[in-house]
């Protein structure tokens, strides 16, 4: 009898664990099937054409894809130096008594839902951008900055964790040789934790590119590629969030699903690179 129960327990845990693989495969399959119509209709034009006109049944995702790339790039340019600074501060500079409270508050801020960052951006940041750069304040620049602020706590926390893996004994040896803090950071901490830091930054990139709510409020959802960053723009998640409930034709839906598929493939790739190339989980069994 116990043998039967033992078997049932073992097999049901395995079945449920395999479900995770099954769901992932299912998501890819469903998104692919749903976007077939759009793929057949537009082919490669879908990713190179920027005309997105639901009334004419013309869908080109170039503006949305570029919007995702540009806003994420902006966010990374702004957030990476600050995040590395925060990480250096937390792991090497801050007094022991400061480390815990500052570290924990940064982790807590990483837990605040992104919809709240978006709301803050809309009410408090858009007017500032409007006053400084003119225009309506909603657009690529605002989205990039809000995205940078939203991703900063996560990025800083993971980078700090990477830096903290440096063994104290290595650092102490360098200090004993008369190294300054910067010498130790440059010649010991960074070389030692390089893979971890790069992995942390790429992981943050993977999260930023799929982030929806922080940017939906402040992007404007206008399908146009413009080098003027203060102009309203769009990105893949912004388009999905704004138009999914408005789509009325099969082709419209199919195009949105193709956008979702593109987004999933992009972020899946980026996250895999971060996780498998740089952050291989070490486990001693």
């Amino acid at each position: 009898m116990t043998k039967i129960i033992d078997n049932i327990f073992a097999n049901s845990t395995r079945l449920i664990a395999i479900t995770v693989l099954f769901i992932t495969a299912w998501i890819f399959t469903v998104l692919f099937q749903e976007s077939l119509l759009s793929m057949q209709t537009f082919g490669l034009d879908f990713v190179t054409e920027s005309k997105w006109a639901p009334n004419l049944e013309k869908f080109g995702a170039f503006a949305a894809i570029m919007g995702s790339v540009i806003s994420t790039f902006l966010a990374m340019v702004l957030a990476v130096p600050v995040a590395i600074g925060v990480a250096i501060f937390l792991s090497e500079i801050a007094h022991e008594r400061l480390k815990a409270p500052v570290g924990v508050s940064i982790e807590l801020l990483a837990a605040i839902p992104s919809v709240i960052y978006g709301m803050w951006g809309l009410f408090y940041f858009v007017p500032i951008i409007r006053d400084i750069f003119g225009g309506i304040g909603i657009g690529m620049l605002t989205a990039g900055i809000v995205l940078a602020i939203m991703i900063l706590p996560f990025m800083a926390a993971v980078t700090r964790d990477a830096m903290n893996t440096t063994p104290d004994i290595l650092k102490e040896s360098a200090y004993a040789l008369g190294g300054t803090k910067w010498d130790v950071i440059r010649d010991i901490v960074i070389p030692y934790s390089k893979a971890g830091i790069i992995g942390a930054l790429i992981l943050a990139l993977g999260r930023a590119i799929g982030e929806t709510m922080a940017v939906t409020f402040v992007m404007g959802n206008v399908h146009k590629v413009s080098w003027d960053l203060t102009q309203p723009a769009t990105s893949i998640p912004v388009t999905l969030a704004n138009e999914f409930t408005e789509a009325d034709t099969d082709l419209y839906f199919s195009s949105l699903f193709e956008l979702a598929l593109i987004l999933l493939v992009i972020s899946f790739t980026i996250i895999s690179i971060a996780k498998f190339y740089f952050l291989r989980r070490k486990r001693s069994v």
């Binding site: 073992a10 664990a17 995770v20 501060f89 839902p113 709301m119 408090y124 950071i185 409020f217 895999s272």
Partner: protein, 280 residues
């Protein structure tokens, strides 16, 4: 300038810059927190808990439908997602261990943990909303469960792994079958860690907005019918905040405040559980 002086000088500059960036980071983050609290405290009153949504301009309007909806959607997603996640994590740590299958599941689930949540929303839209013909609370629940599963799986796997092998061996030596060893010994040893994982997992899905936008959708009135669209704090917040009406925006801030406090308390509670466990 001698070489040493130069090194000390460069060191000072770098220290100043990184302290400054920590200051910049903290400034923005506390600014957001301040705005959240100041707007939230101002907007919160009893009416919010007593009344449903109303057209702009109405005195008696509140967030009752969103609060109830949020509890129902996140609650059921937790009830479904937590046991599934724990069982899947149990397989990885106790049965699969370092086998190829277990490693693949770990990898894929790790990636899914960071995958864009809006994509999960569109997937659920295709498999549930389209066949049913309308939005429903169930669709939202399924979306949140899919997002929660990898989180619980990962923490369970990690926490069970921390339980010493000797404990398992001792139980086996007494003749206990494997499932009893897992349930009565391993789970007990990892209780605090799993609880923390659950709290953090709930906190994470409670703040999700994107996967609910086109699954559970929204409803301005109280509803407990899982087959119908249902309001949630996050979607309500989004709709109210982007509306042009001041009293709706105020309700949006109240929702933002309640949600953040809920999520922050779960996070702090999760940390405390781990700390008290370590203290023992």
């Amino acid at each position: 300038m001698t070489a040493t002086q130069k090194r000390v000088f460069v060191n000072r500059i770098v220290m100043a810059l990184s302290t400054l960036s920590a200051g910049i980071g903290l400034f923005f983050l506390f600014w957001i927190l301040y705005i959240l609290v100041s707007n939230g405290v101002e907007a919160i009153n009893w009416d919010i808990f007593l009344f449903e949504g109303a057209p702009p301009g109405y005195e008696e309007s509140g967030l009752k439908q969103a609060l109830v909806g949020q509890l129902i959607i996140v609650g059921i997603a937790t009830l479904v997602g937590v046991p599934l996640g724990i069982l899947a994590g149990t397989y990885l740590s106790e049965y699969g261990q370092k086998s190829k299958l277990a490693e693949t599941i770990r990898d894929i689930s790790d990636i899914m943990m960071s995958a864009p949540s809006i994509v999960v929303g569109s997937f659920v839209y295709a498999i549930m909303v389209v066949p049913m013909g309308h939005f429903s609370a169930w669709a939202g629940i399924v979306a949140l469960t899919i997002i929660m599963l990898p989180i619980i799986l990962r923490t369970t796997d990690d926490m069970l792994h921390l339980v010493p092998t000797t404990l398992r061996e001792a139980a086996f030596a007494l003749g206990a079958p494997k499932y009893k060893v897992i349930i009565q010994v391993v789970y007990r040893g990892a209780k605090a860690g799993i609880l923390t994982g659950i709290l953090l997992g709930v906190a994470r899905v409670a703040g999700e907005t994107a996967p609910l936008l086109f699954t559970s959708f929204n409803d301005n009135f109280m509803s407990t019918d899982l087959m119908e669209p249902m309001a949630s704090l996050t979607v309500t917040m989004y709709n109210y905040a982007t509306s042009p009406y001041e009293d709706w925006q105020r309700l949006g801030w109240a929702a933002a405040f309640i949600l953040s406090m809920f999520i922050l308390s779960l996070n702090i509670l999760g940390r405390l559980v781990l700390l008290t466990k370590k203290g023992k």
